[in-house]
């Protein structure tokens, strides 16, 4: 039974008791505890259930590498599944629940599957559930889905805030242990801008746990002074900040935990750091691996280092009698620490033929029993360890002796934390001495300059001996500085003493015992969370899943929430041994960010809710909002779709707006239309290339409709161009096209015709633009007064600068509605005032605001095309009958060559027509995007042969019947023909007549009025 000792625990404050609940039961712990240490102090052995077989699971580790102790943390909208108990700081009122078990953690029905585990080997689901067809989807999969998954998903939106933080550093040091601090000290002293991040809430790494002495004093003393010194140099020092991933060119993401670990509600929860570092020093330490032996997943079996951590940091003993099983000297430190704390260590089972190093010597001096050349034959207990059976390491598990114990410390050696090194391309090599993959200094991740961007230091560099760590870090730091051209200032590196001169080498012990029986291979775990056992790797190898990627995917090794931090190397080694190859030849899987899971909320940062994508607003936006606008997103803008009055429907509102405008006068906020000013001696030349028509000859004071194609010959935008002066043109674009067309012109100007003298400015937001349309438009404006708007002096397709009321305006006499229409541009800040002035003056004429849908209906009644409706990126100007807008005289314009290609000149292209529905169908509107087809033909794929599609379809309140525009194969040659259109009501195809696409005022009397 684990328990809190009466003394010890360097991180806890025994004066401050904290109450918390786990699975509804009240517990208490101390300030400074993690949820894991507090549960352990309370004797809680089972904390979670494994993924596949729902086996009872206890704590294994003391850090984020923990695979078992995942809990659901928090309540209500703050409940979060899959939190790792070992990194969750305890706070007053913390509420945690176990996961993946039903009805309770202690009694879990799902654990039945463990009884059948023999029939559920790795990948069993690939070989079964095959028949019948649909059986998988309907029967088996739903059951499996319910069994799978860990925590329950949240049910409410996240009430907390997150933020992003940008940081630049010459050197980013990841890890605040002796290696990290040593490297940072040299760099900071040498004048480099240094940022140090440490994932734990305290500095010092392992050294402070392991009784290391630095410069003759306790490590904690040195750590404290080093941190102070660094702060003095101006280095940024961040605790509780985990580096998650390294990306190209020294870009590193880190997540800082702010209100996690406290019961503070609201405010910032986490901060995502986006760091651009010139150099990264990876001093992230190393992670211990368990030994793979039978029964090694029973609660009470832990990493040797973790047992030491809980003891030293939290004053918690993992058990009363703790047996150690190991293949290396370091784990003897656990034995010594336990024995110092008065905890019984009945035996140390060492796989090595001889444990003769200094550390085993010290253990023996205290009377601890070391059993050499031995392995673990069996671990007794189901829900918690009751004892262990030793066996000869060379044998196949014949029990040589039984030892009572209630916890077991396993150590299979250490794996350097190379994740960040690998994320951006650094290679690894196998180190036979330390039996681990470590960074290969010959193949570091490269920066933009082709030079190393990361340097590994200390344990992360495979330097696992404490006394060499400082020197290794010094070297890494100096190399990084030199590569940046910074002279390293001589700084005395600390002298680190671990209390022993030498450690005997580790010896690989991948299977304990070596010749484990078949039955034991099926009871020896490699990946705890995903229940991957030795037998699963054996099966993968047997069946030919030989590459580590295949084996990993087949068995799910290393795919759990710990991403294989404890299991990868063991799995790899066992695969290698199954295949009879060397470990480095099997290779390693690719390390992918993030190092630990990161909340989606943190990735989102501030960009949630209203800040998800800020809305662009015209100067008149607020008026629309106050007057019943139904908003339609158009690009990043919002435009009024229509304005609702009282309780009318949208459809009625649109009809009212159309009729009101056609019979009186309507106002449209056209401010979103793109306004691009092109000026300079070669402005006309540029526009002649960009537009299909000739713009350079446009007279002053005149406007002209223009089309733009892309280089593929397809229509991309349209709008009216006004000639402002000899060297200046104002080009209107569609709302969505403004930024794109501006960039498009810039691109050609800068990258193709850079010697042309022209400038392009996007003035879209500088002006508000109001369209006043309808037979009473002139009357309204004349009432406000200020300039001559008579037909004679200001004809259609002209523009004038002048005054309307108190406003300096530029008036364009253009029309997209087919009505008499004036578009007034004013400085943006006057937009709202002008709009209100016009609405006021318009009262007597029945002036009303109209929205985009009314605009669409009116333009369709006139047969005007709309970019995005009649065009879709595959339509040419000719398809739309816009030959008149294409210059025949010009040698070249963008898209001209493309339009000469065979397919774009075929006689069977779909071309623009109008559609008229038979009278009896006159209430029925054609469906958006309906297709026209030949009733008697099929194409080469056996589909109905489509010969056209409806591009726009509206009810015309003016004509009191539906109208539609369509692209139809050889359409203009078929006026008067009847054609079949599909409809959503099956079998109720509609027949329509092909007509000219202009439904109203084809002579243009209204707009010319």
């Amino acid at each position: 039974m684990s328990k809190r000792l009466s003394e010890g625990g360097r991180l806890i404050d025994r004066e401050r008791t904290l109450r918390f609940a786990f699975d509804g039961k009240p517990y208490s712990g101390f300030y400074g505890d993690t949820l894991a240490s507090a549960l352990m102090a309370n004797g809680q052995k089972i904390i979670g259930r494994s993924f596949k077989f729902h086996r009872p699971r206890g704590l294994v580790a003391s850090g984020p590498e923990e695979p078992n102790a995942l809990v659901s943390l928090g309540e209500g909208p703050r409940r979060e599944p899959n939190q790792v108990a070992t990194t969750a700081e305890l706070f007053e009122g913390l509420v945690a629940e176990s996961q993946n078990c039903w009805p309770s953690l202690d009694f879990d029905v799902g654990a039945l599957s463990d009884r059948f585990s023999r029939f559920l080997p790795a990948g069993f689901y690939y070989k079964t559930f095959i028949s019948p067809k649909n059986g998988w989807y309907r029967l088996f999969e739903p059951a499996i889905r319910r069994m799978a998954g860990l925590g329950k998903p949240p049910e409410l939106p996240d009430p907390d805030c997150y933020e992003h933080f940008y940081a630049h550093a010459d050197i980013l040091v990841v890890g605040g242990g002796i290696a990290g601090l040593t490297a940072a000290r040299i760099a900071a002293a040498s004048g480099a801008r240094v940022l140090v991040v440490e994932q734990r809430p305290n500095w010092g790494g392992r050294s402070v746990v392991d009784n290391v002495r630095v410069d003759g004093a306790a490590a904690s003393e040195w750590v404290r002074s080093a941190v102070e010194e660094l702060e003095g140099f101006g280095a940024a020092m961040r605790l509780k900040t985990t580096a998650l991933g390294a990306y190209s060119h020294g870009y590193v993401l880190a997540c800082e935990r702010l209100s996690d670990g406290s019961n503070r509600k609201g405010g910032l929860r986490q901060r995502l750091w986006r760091i651009r570092a010139r150099k990264i020093i990876v001093a992230a330490g190393a992670i211990e691996r368990p030994l793979v032996c039978p029964g090694n997943d029973i609660p009470g079996v832990m990493l040797a280092s973790a047992i030491r951590d809980y003891l030293t940091d939290y004053g918690v003993a993992a058990g009363r009698e703790i047996v150690i099983a190991t293949n290396n000297d370091d784990s003897y430190r656990t034995a010594l620490a336990l024995s110092d704390a008065g905890i019984e260590v009945p035996a140390i089972i060492d796989t090595r033929p001889s444990a003769s190093g200094e550390l085993p010597g010290l253990a023996r001096e205290r009377g601890l029993r070391v059993i050499e050349s031995s392995g673990v034959a069996k671990i007794f207990g189901k829900r918690q360890v009751r004892g262990v059976a030793a066996c000869s390491m060379g044998g196949s598990g014949e029990i040589s002796e039984k030892i009572n114990c209630d916890a077991i410390a396993l150590s299979g050696g250490w794996s350097p934390t190379v994740h960040l090194w690998s994320h951006s391309g650094g290679k690894l090599r196998w180190d036979d001495h330390w039996v681990a993959f470590k960074p290969d200094p010959d193949f570091p991740p490269l920066g933009d300059d082709g030079i190393a961007v990361a340097y590994a230091a200390g344990a992360a560099n495979g330097e696992l001996l404490c006394r060499n760590i400082a020197a290794d870090a010094e070297m890494a730091s100096k190399r990084a500085l030199a590569d940046m051209g910074i002279d390293a200032v001589p700084v005395e590196s600390p002298a680190v003493e671990s209390g022993v001169e030498n450690e005997a080498p580790i010896e690989p012990a991948w299977l304990v015992p070596n010749n484990m029986s078949c039955a034991d291979r099926a009871r020896s775990w490699i990946d705890y969370q995903n229940d991957v056992k030795v037998s699963d790797i054996d099966l993968a190898a047997l069946e030919g899943y030989e590459s580590v990627e295949h084996a990993k995917r087949y068995t799910t090794l290393g795919m759990a929430t710990d991403q294989g931090k404890l299991s990868n190397v063991n799995g790899l080694a066992i695969l290698a041994s199954d295949l009879g190859t060397a470990i480095p030849d099997v290779g390693t899987t690719t390390f992918r960010p993030p190092y630990i899971p990161v909340a989606f909320g943190a990735i989102v940062g501030e960009a949630a809710g209203n800040l998800f994508k800020p809305v662009r607003k015209t100067p008149i936006h607020s008026w629309h909002d106050d007057n019943g606008a139904i908003w339609e997103p158009v690009g990043d803008w919002r435009r009024p779709f229509c304005y609702l009055r009282f309780d009318e429907t949208e459809r009625n509102a649109v009809n009212r707006e159309v009729l009101g405008t056609r019979q009186g006068v309507g106002l449209l906020d056209a401010s979103t239309l793109g306004k691009i000013l092109v000026s300079g001696p070669d402005a006309g030349r540029l526009l002649d290339m960009v537009y299909t028509g000739v713009m350079s000859s446009l007279p002053l004071g005149k406007c002209k409709y223009g089309l733009m194609c892309n280089e593929n010959g397809f229509l991309m935008d349209d709008g009216v161009v006004a000639r402002i002066d000899e060297q200046t043109f104002l080009c209107h674009t569609t709302t969505g096209g403004a930024d794109r067309i501006h960039a498009w012109m810039e691109e050609w100007l800068q990258t193709e015709w850079w010697e042309w003298r022209a400038h392009v400015h996007n003035l879209t937001e500088q002006y508000a633009q109001i369209c006043v349309a309808g037979p009473k438009a002139r009357e309204l404006l004349e009432k406000v007064g200020g300039m001559d708007l008579s037909k004679a002096s200001f004809p259609f397709m002209g523009w004038r600068d002048g005054r309307i009321g108190e406003f300096n305006v530029r008036v364009f006499r253009i029309s997209f509605s087919g009505e008499l229409s004036f578009e007034l541009a004013v400085r943006a800040r006057e937009g709202l005032a002008l709009w209100e002035t016009l609405m006021d003056a318009g009262k007597e004429f029945g002036a009303l605001p109209y929205g985009t849908e009314c605009l669409h209906v009116m333009r369709a009644e006139k047969g005007f095309i709309m970019i995005g409706d009649e065009t879709d990126g595959t339509v040419t100007p000719q398809d739309l009958g816009l030959h008149w807008a294409i210059s025949k005289k010009k040698f070249d314009f963008i898209g001209k060559r493309a339009l000469e290609r065979s397919y774009l000149n075929g006689s069977n292209r779909w071309r623009l027509v109008g559609l008229e529905l038979p009278r009896f169908k006159s209430k029925e509107q054609l469906e958006d995007g309906a297709y026209l087809y030949e009733t008697s033909a099929v194409n080469e794929h056996g589909h109905a042969k489509m010969i056209g599609r409806v591009t726009s379809t509206y009810y015309s309140p003016t004509l009191e019947r539906p109208i539609a525009m369509a692209l139809v194969e050889s359409g203009p040659d078929r006026f008067g023909e009847f054609i079949t259109i599909n409809s959503k009501d099956e079998g109720k195809a509609i027949v329509a007549k092909i007509v000219e696409p202009v439904f109203l005022d084809s002579e243009g009397k209204r707009q010319n009025a």
């Binding site: 996240d158 391309g425 590459s547």
Partner: protein
């Protein structure tokens, strides 16, 4: 080769699973084959499989520079759908989807095809029109898709926020028989079936050169020596450009990185596949419980299988906006693949300037769903030397003629 079944597992369990055969054999390559396929991803293996099954061409080697299924086949978000717009796309994707329906039985390997239904959210009026257009086209193409309203969206996918402040859900394009499949299993199942037909799957064997003469193709140079063949099919996705250069021509292809990510596993909360093209993100929940998420591509040529983080950010932003409850879930793993994008974003299944050299590439961000159909069409092209109606529209010469198969016309990223 013994058949897979629950009985087989039970009987093998008695001998502690020591009696299983290899899924595929790993022979050294011969000197000569009738057909060599370069690339043992899903498309390459499916090509070989249908060469054997449909055309009785069995003297085939599939050679792979890494491990089979290790490229985009094992890196995608496993979506299977066929609700495209254009006739030619629908023909091949729907054949493909229908082959997925029976793939587990056909190949005696559970590829876990799960037609759980797929929706593409319409979040602008423009999208509503685009999807309605696609539904209309699909009805004439004999494909069962429909446009559903926001209430139905919410019913099918309760965790969705349909009244988001920025892009409310106006409806969705719905393909009830779209879904997902287990990506690795598809490659493994085809490899097993090819092996069973006596074909050679040769892994760890990079192609270093393509040998040709005036007559046409002669074979390939590889790390394991030269291999001669009568016909050569290149099916290597992101590396197509590199192989084309070896053969002496250029393809209308650019290679870019596409990223994906998964969350930690949670209990089921999302039964359907949801794609949101306005905000650029798509999401489904795997059988294991992970949310599988994908988004847009990087904008520059990239062969590094690593993308830029801001794309992940954009995608996650969009999905948290659409599914607010996922904010407190965590990203577990992200990765990238190299996808081959053509000028019109539709694939190439085509003859080439070199006689008896055929390319199948350009599947871009949407290749997984096409694996069986693509293999079917490519096998026909290789076996007959000329494309059938499935492959014909996807020939290389369309770029010269201006005859594009443009799927972007009705929807955004859409894969």
């Amino acid at each position: 080769m013994s058949r897979y079944s629950a009985f087989a597992i039970a009987s093998k369990a008695m001998r502690r699973h020591s009696g299983w055969e290899r899924v595929w054999t790993s022979p050294d390559p011969k000197r000569n084959y009738d057909v060599v396929i370069v690339g043992a991803g899903g498309h390459g293996l499916a090509t070989a499989y249908y060469l054997g099954k449909n055309h009785n061409v069995r003297d085939v080697a599939i050679i792979e520079k890494g491990w089979l299924g290790g490229g985009n086949t094992g890196r995608n978000t496993t979506i299977v759908r066929s609700g495209y717009l254009q006739d030619d796309s629908v023909a091949i994707y729907e054949l493909s989807r229908s082959l997925y329906e029976t793939m587990s039985q056909d190949l005696n390997f559970n590829v876990m095809f799960s037609p759980r239904g797929l929706m593409m959210l319409a979040q602008t009026h423009h999208e509503v029109r685009g999807y309605k257009r696609t539904v209309n086209a699909n009805s004439l193409q004999g494909l069962a898709t429909e446009f559903i309203g926001p209430e139905r969206v919410k019913k099918l996918c309760p965790i969705i926020e349909i009244n988001g402040p920025r892009f409310p859900v106006l409806g969705a394009f719905w393909q009830a028989r779209g879904g997902t499949a287990r990506h690795d299993a598809v490659a493994w199942a085809y490899a097993r079936a090819c092996s069973k037909m006596g074909m050679h799957v040769v892994q760890q064997c990079a192609v270093t050169g393509i040998s040709r003469d005036e007559e046409g193709i002669r074979g390939v140079e590889t790390e394991k020596g030269p291999i001669n063949c009568k016909k050569l099919g290149v099916v290597v996705a992101g590396h197509s450009g590199v192989l084309a250069e070896m053969a002496g021509f250029r393809l209308p292809i650019e290679s870019v990185a596409l990223q994906a990510l998964v969350s930690e596993p949670i209990k089921p909360c999302l039964d359907v596949v949801v794609m949101a093209n306005t905000v650029h993100g798509y999401i489904s929940q795997s059988d294991k419980g992970e949310l599988v998420i994908g988004g847009g591509t990087d904008g520059f040529n990239n062969y590094s299988q690593r993308g830029s983080f801001h794309h992940i950010e954009e995608t996650v932003r969009a999905l948290v906006e659409t599914f607010p409850i996922i904010s407190r879930l965590k990203m577990l793993r992200q990765w990238g693949g190299i996808v081959d994008m053509t000028g019109d974003r539709s694939p190439i299944i085509s003859k080439t300037p070199v006689r008896n050299l055929f390319f199948n590439c350009g599947w871009g961000t949407g290749g997984f769903k096409a694996i069986p159909g693509s293999g079917w069409a490519m096998a026909e092209l290789i076996a007959k030397g000329n494309p059938g109606p499935l492959a014909a529209p996807f020939s290389l010469d369309r770029f010269k003629e201006g005859r594009f198969i443009d799927e972007s016309v009705a929807a955004g990223v859409a894969h």
